[in-house]
């Protein structure tokens, strides 16, 4: 059985390397992108099993927009690929997402279509646990 592929998208290169270290020590194949556009292209070409996505400062919304764009792409894979968001934003159940420069497709009050959230600083053990959990729950393949 081939190793599961994890796509890590974060503009913080140091963090990407640390994530790579942890994931590789957990036996995953890791591909990385440092911006949203590259991340989206990699998701389309490589079809990773799990996507680890940062909200990405400074705009703080690039990550959100990436999720919405990803889910818009035609195909069962893009509808279902597990995305883990690297933020504690889920703890704020009150928070709603307002795409600031969005195309208007997503209405205010719509929740983010992701599978899980992981707070920064990411705890290595928790990271491996969550990725494994996302994989086992994944409806892709």
């Amino acid at each position: 059985m081939s190793r599961a592929k994890v796509l890590t998208i974060d503009d913080d290169r140091d963090l990407v390397e640390v994530l790579r270290l942890v994931l590789e020590s957990g036996g995953y194949e890791v591909i990385a992108a440092h911006d949203g556009a590259t991340g989206l292209a990699l998701a389309q070409s490589e079809k990773p099993d799990v996507i680890l996505l940062d909200v990405m400062m400074p705009s703080a919304t690039e990550g959100f927009h990436l999720v919405w764009k990803l889910r818009q792409i035609e195909g069962e894979y893009f509808e279902n690929v597990p995305v883990i968001m690297l933020t504690a934003i889920h703890e704020r159940t009150d928070l709603r997402f307002y795409p600031e420069s969005g195309d208007g497709t997503y209405k205010a009050g719509e929740y983010l279509p992701v599978q899980d959230f992981l707070d920064k600083p990411v705890d290595p053990k928790a990271l491996l646990e969550r990725v494994a959990r996302a994989l086992s729950a994944s409806r892709v393949k």
Partner: protein, 520 residues
């Protein structure tokens, strides 16, 4: 400074009351003369004149009472306008007189010359008394007062004419008009009124003397005909004229002193108002600066957050051996580094929370918050911590509380900081009780502990940022000193407050009061 606005309207009311008094005096005088002295004074023409004056005064009284209740334009103006239109005509006489005065004193003022007056109405209105442009429908109280005094002088002259003319000692009552004019009107206007009064009475005296006017005998003097004696007429007119002008001079001088005093008072109160304005502006700038500072602090904290989180994660990765085994002597150092980084992360998080609350609603979405639910959740989250610390954690939180409007994140921090502190500073075996309830339109959150307490010296400062009580520092070395500052900022942001009572070694009680209807 001339009395203006409300004050002048008040004084016009006073003028009206004086007029009632004068009318009562005339009526009583008439009855006295008729019945006590037996002089046959008929109801005509003096009685008719009195009745007319009474009607006129009644109209004025109604107008003034309307003025008091309403704005000085509009309806009041319409009511005032009817009698005033008549008075305008009489005022034209003054205009002529004033031209004479101007010519006599050689003071030509632009607004006194007829030049540029194009309409008849404008020509008839002495502008300085009237102060009203023909098109301008703003009520001018000074003009109103001036018109009344003018009218009163005509009325007095008429009354005198019908009651003996120059033989009537009441001619000296014209002094009152001069005094009143000096109080209500400008110096120039007072002299004009004086001249008008003197002129009218002189006209009566000279008219009757020359036979141009019919003489109505007073019936009081033993021998009739004094009005025809040139010496008598000259003396009376001279005494009257000198009395009136001297009175005008004295009264306007006194008024001028009074007015300069009032002007000074006005200037001072203006000064105070201006200073208050400056102070307010300075305060607004200060608040703006405070907000800018807070915003800057928030930015810095935000910038710090990401690198600190990265460092913390790297240290954790090292500690957990994801990058390979690490020697034991490194492990201890890395553990310490990781702990210090965690403290740093907590500090930036607290700074963010504090600035968030201070900046207020600008950056925060206000939502309906169920504080009961929120408190229960925080208590549940902290139950493990309390258990580890050997502290009993009780919560008395009702299930059905009205939601409040507020910032859920800030409120969560408020509750978590208070309960977290209580657990933290309570020794093993102690107890923390969280109570929430409604009281007189407010929500009251009370957190009691049996902890180390706070010294009374420290109490006033514990809500200051970075302040930590000395026994708290001894008891727990870590801690940012921002927790209670956040509690206070969040409470105040919601229009509420926080209070504390404590006894060293016995425990502490924090009480947060929040209005049920959030900050307005």
């Amino acid at each position: 400074m001339l009395p203006a606005g409300e004050e002048l309207v008040d004084r016009i009311g006073w003028l009206i009351r004086l007029r009632w008094l004068a009318l009562v005096g005339v009526v009583c005088g008439g009855f006295f003369v008729r019945y006590a002295l037996g002089v046959p004074v008929g109801p005509w023409p003096v009685g008719a004149l009195v009745a007319l004056l009474a009607l006129y005064n009644l109209l004025l009284a109604v107008a003034v009472s309307r003025l008091r209740r309403q704005d000085r334009t509009g309806t009041a103006m319409a009511i005032v306008l009817a009698p005033v239109q008549l008075l305008k005509l009489w005022l034209s006489v003054q205009d002529l007189l004033r031209s004479l005065v101007t010519a006599a004193f050689g003071r030509r003022r632009g607004d006194l010359t007829p030049r540029g007056r194009t309409t008849l109405g404008y020509l008839l209105v002495p502008r300085e008394l009237w102060g009203m442009e023909p098109k301008e429908h703003v009520f001018n109280a000074a003009a109103f007062a001036g018109a009344q005094i003018t009218f009163d002088l005509f009325a007095l002259a008429a009354l005198l004419h019908f009651s003996g003319g120059i033989e009537n000692p009441f001619i000296f009552f014209s002094i009152f008009h001069v005094v009143i004019a000096s109080i209500l009107l400008s110096r120039e206007a007072t002299y004009l009124e004086t001249t008008l009064g003197f002129g009218l009475i002189s006209a009566v005296g000279l008219g009757e003397f020359s036979g141009l006017m019919r003489h109505v005998p007073l019936g009081l003097l033993p021998e009739e005909g004094a009005y025809q004696d040139p010496v008598y007429v000259a003396v009376v007119l001279f005494v009257l004229g000198s009395t009136l002008y001297l009175t005008a001079y004295m009264a306007t001088s006194i008024s001028a002193g009074q007015r300069s005093f009032e002007r000074e008072a006005w200037r001072l109160s203006d000064d105070v108002a201006r200073k208050a304005e400056l102070l307010e502006a300075a305060y607004a700038r200060l608040r703006q600066a405070e907000r800018a500072k807070s915003k800057q602090m928030r930015k810095v904290a935000h910038e710090l957050k990401a690198p600190i989180a990265a460092v913390q994660m790297m240290l954790k990765v090292l500690l957990e051996g994801h990058a390979g085994e690490i020697p034991e002597r490194f492990r201890d150092l890395i553990t310490r580094a990781e702990r210090r980084t965690r403290e740093l992360a907590q500090l930036t998080q607290d700074l963010l929370a504090l600035t968030r609350a201070r900046e207020g609603a600008v950056v925060i979405e206000i939502l309906e918050v169920n504080l009961a639910e929120l408190t229960a959740r925080v208590v549940a989250d902290l139950r493990d911590t309390a258990e580890r610390a050997g502290v009993a954690l009780d919560a008395q939180v009702p299930g059905d509380l009205d939601p409040i409007e507020g910032d859920p994140v800030g409120l969560q921090q408020l509750v978590a900081n208070l309960v977290g502190n209580a657990i933290r500073y309570t020794p093993r075996g102690g107890r923390v009780i969280v109570r929430l309830g409604e009281l007189e339109g407010t929500l009251r959150l009370q957190v009691d502990d049996t902890g180390i307490g706070i010294a009374s010296d420290d109490l006033p400062q514990i809500f200051e940022e970075f302040y930590r009580a000395s026994n708290a520092r001894d008891y727990a070395s870590d801690g940012t000193g921002l927790g209670l500052a956040i509690v206070k900022a969040v409470a105040e942001q919601h229009g509420g407050s926080v209070a504390v009572t404590s006894e060293v070694g016995r425990g502490t009680r924090f009480t947060v009061t929040l209005p049920l209807r959030g900050p307005s």
